[in-house]
């Protein structure tokens, strides 16, 4: 690797070193408690798929260039010089990690693996070896943010078609205004995804609850975050934040997408509005009696998969369980569950990459968890999880249905 490239990589590493990363890089004792806590390692038992193995790839580079011992005594901590081989390891470490932070729960120091992997992803961006798919999707989202006016008319015509679908579902007389857009002072700004289902089902629920809401022009998913590009991630998130401020809404509600929820909820600092997941809002409507669902409508044995960014990293544990318990006649918890639940293996942008074989293998713990419940239906509330659970289903020929919670609620509303 050329010296100039090494210098660029060192500079980009240095720019990522914020307060928490400074101590996360220093305090690991390699106690090994995290060793088998990653689903990827469970499916493909390679050391680089262990949390400590991943972290050491980054940490050894850190030692080499940012610690006196790495300079004077490189063997002391196995300090590693940057080269093409190390960059291959950096890729493997970064894009086998979904950022689920299950290892963090087991780490006696609470080292945040997701955050450590932002360094790896930044190095890959600087090295121009980051996954092209994610970089292009992030660029597309940034471009949409820059020239939203050019997109608006096309988007409006798509939404008009979706309004008809919502009208039919609700049995309403007119489709007019069922998916409002650009509405000032609404209670809720809803951010969906690019798929029609991510807008239609929430729209049915909002209308059933007689909510004063409006739809965002932007999709909630943040490919800048998945690619590890903090500037683009910030820009993409601010598209919705600025829209919410412009429209003066009270609450931003995020579609079933764990990362899209976690970013504005926790990672963007204080915001002048509340941020909620669609799951929390559905739960609120049921509790307030604003919507009614058909109780025990699902007769199959059902289990709930906690999306990592919604549960462990978002704190939304109880609400979906209460909703699922109402919908299902036989709801069975997975084991382990809640903060110890296994990641399905689809997060962190991994479902967007050409890595299906790896994801089937890394989905093994999830497959075994589902099998153990005897469930015929797995309900979840994250688009990535739905896609990955379906990959696991077909990869292992599982006799299960994978359902989105919002969709299931929308289909079982008492109207």
């Amino acid at each position: 690797m050329e010296k100039e490239k090494v210098r660029e990589l060192k500079d980009s590493f240095n720019k990522k070193l914020n307060k928490p990363l400074r101590y996360y890089l220093d305090l690991c004792t390699r106690c090994g408690l995290c060793y088998d806590t990653c689903h990827a390692y469970q499916g493909v038992p390679k050391e680089i798929y262990t949390p400590v193995g991943r972290a050491e790839v980054v940490r050894k580079v850190f030692k080499k260039y940012f610690k006196p011992t790495g300079f004077f005594l490189p063997y002391w901590g196995d300090a590693t010089e940057l080269d093409d081989h190390v960059m291959d390891d950096v890729y493997e470490a970064a894009f086998s990690c979904t950022g689920c932070r299950r290892c963090m729960v087991y780490c006696p120091f609470g080292i945040d693996m997701g955050m450590l992997m932002t360094i790896a992803k930044q190095l890959l961006l600087t090295n121009e070896t980051a996954p092209e798919e994610l970089v292009m999707l992030a660029d597309g989202a940034v471009e949409k943010g820059r020239s939203i006016e050019d997109f608006k008319e096309g988007f409006r015509s798509v939404i008009e078609d979706l309004q008809v679908e919502v009208k039919d579902r609700l049995g309403a007389s007119s489709a007019e205004g069922l998916i409002p857009m650009d509405k000032e002072n609404a209670n809720i700004l809803f951010a969906g995804l690019s798929g029609a289902h991510s807008i239609v089902h929430p729209a049915v629920i909002f209308n059933a609850a007689k909510e004063d809401w409006t739809l965002s022009f932007f999709e909630a998913v943040n490919f800048g975050y998945f690619a590890g590009d903090s500037e683009k991630a910030d820009f993409i998130a601010k598209r919705i934040i600025n829209e919410a401020i412009r429209l003066n809404v009270k609450e931003v509600v995020i579609v079933e997408c764990g990362t899209a929820f976690r970013i504005p909820k926790f990672l963007m600092g204080d915001l002048p509005f509340k941020v909620s997941s669609i799951v929390e809002v559905i739960h609120r409507y049921i509790k307030e009696g604003r919507i009614k669902i058909k109780e025990k409508a699902v007769q199959d044995v059902v289990t709930w998969h906690d999306p990592c960014q919604l549960g462990r990293n978002g704190g939304v544990f109880e609400e979906p369980r209460e909703i699922v318990s109402m919908l299902a006649g036989d709801f069975r918890e997975m084991s382990p569950t809640r903060e110890f639940n296994w990641c399905c293996g689809g997060g962190g942008g991994l479902v967007a990459l050409d890595n299906e074989e790896f994801r089937i293998k890394s989905g093994k713990p999830k497959k075994e968890q589902i099998d153990a419940t005897g469930a015929k239906m797995v309900i979840t509330a994250c688009e990535n999880c739905v896609l990955q659970l379906n990959t696991i289903k077909s990869g292992y020929n599982m006799d299960i249905k994978v359902e989105s919670l919002t969709e299931l609620v929308s289909q079982n509303l008492v109207l």
């Binding site: 307060k19 390699r30 060793y35 780490c107 120091f109 609470g110 955050m115 600092g269 704190g315 903060e339």
Partner: protein, 241 residues
């Protein structure tokens, strides 16, 4: 003559150097964190139970998920750290007399030698644990060196104490505590005096080795994974709301 110079260096200038390295090193590490860019937002892990401070203390001192995952390792960690604190308190009594430590009257040092033995056992446990799968694969030289330095430091310290307390030679003379107080108080007040230590202490060579390994340990402290003792609180603070 040569040995006199070496032992003097280890017992006096090197001790000052070790403490300077420890203090300056830790301050340097903390300043690095302090002056690094902040991060907007928070990164909690759920569920969040109880008040934040209580959560940090529980996570840092009682390691609940370690207990859940590896009970023997958890027990060893707890015993090791408690013994380490008691060892530190015991060394305070070798500098001067502290009434608050003598609330329960005891002969210096605390534990009558048991603490050193417990520390040796736990340190060896941590060391041998690294030889097994998968820990050997994730260990780096630093992991072994730190434990070896600590083990030798504790071993020589224990020999000093056990011999002084239980051997005929030590029990007749009973000079240990006064000798050490004269030495350590002299260091503390920047008036080092080794004359009493050299003439009266029964195991001078062992003492020099004990101090040598203690010095190395202190010098290494801020530049190795031992900083977990400080940074663990910052990390646990980050995952709480």
């Amino acid at each position: 003559m040569m040995w006199d110079s070496v032992s003097y260096f280890i017992l006096v200038p090197m001790v000052y150097m070790a403490f300077a390295a420890l203090i300056i090193g830790l301050i340097y590490k903390l300043l690095l964190v302090y002056f690094s860019p902040g991060m907007k937002g928070i990164t909690p892990v759920f569920p969040q139970k109880g008040p934040k401070l209580l959560g940090i203390i529980t996570d840092a001192f009682f390691l609940p998920t370690t207990f859940k995952k590896q009970k023997i390792f958890w027990l060893m960690i707890l015993i090791f750290h408690i013994a380490f604190v008691l060892l530190f308190v015991g060394h305070l009594e070798l500098i001067a007399e502290f009434k608050w430590i003598q609330v329960v009257p005891h002969q210096v040092f605390l534990g009558a030698g048991a603490i050193g033995i417990v520390l040796m056992i736990t340190t060896l446990y941590f060391l041998f644990r690294r030889f097994g799968h998968p820990y050997r694969r994730i260990s780096v030289p630093e992991d072994y060196i730190v434990l070896l330095v600590l083990f030798f430091c504790i071993m020589f310290g224990s020999i000093l104490h056990l011999a002084d307390r239980y051997s005929d030679y030590g029990s007749v003379l009973h000079v240990g505590v006064q000798s050490y107080r004269s030495y350590l108080w002299g260091l503390f007040t920047f008036q080092p005096d080794l004359s009493y230590l050299i003439s009266e202490t029964s195991h001078f060579t062992i003492l020099v080795l004990h101090v040598l390994f203690a010095n190395i340990f202190l010098i290494m402290f801020p530049f190795t994974k031992m900083v977990h003792s400080v940074f663990t609180f910052l990390a646990h603070n980050r995952k709480r709301m």
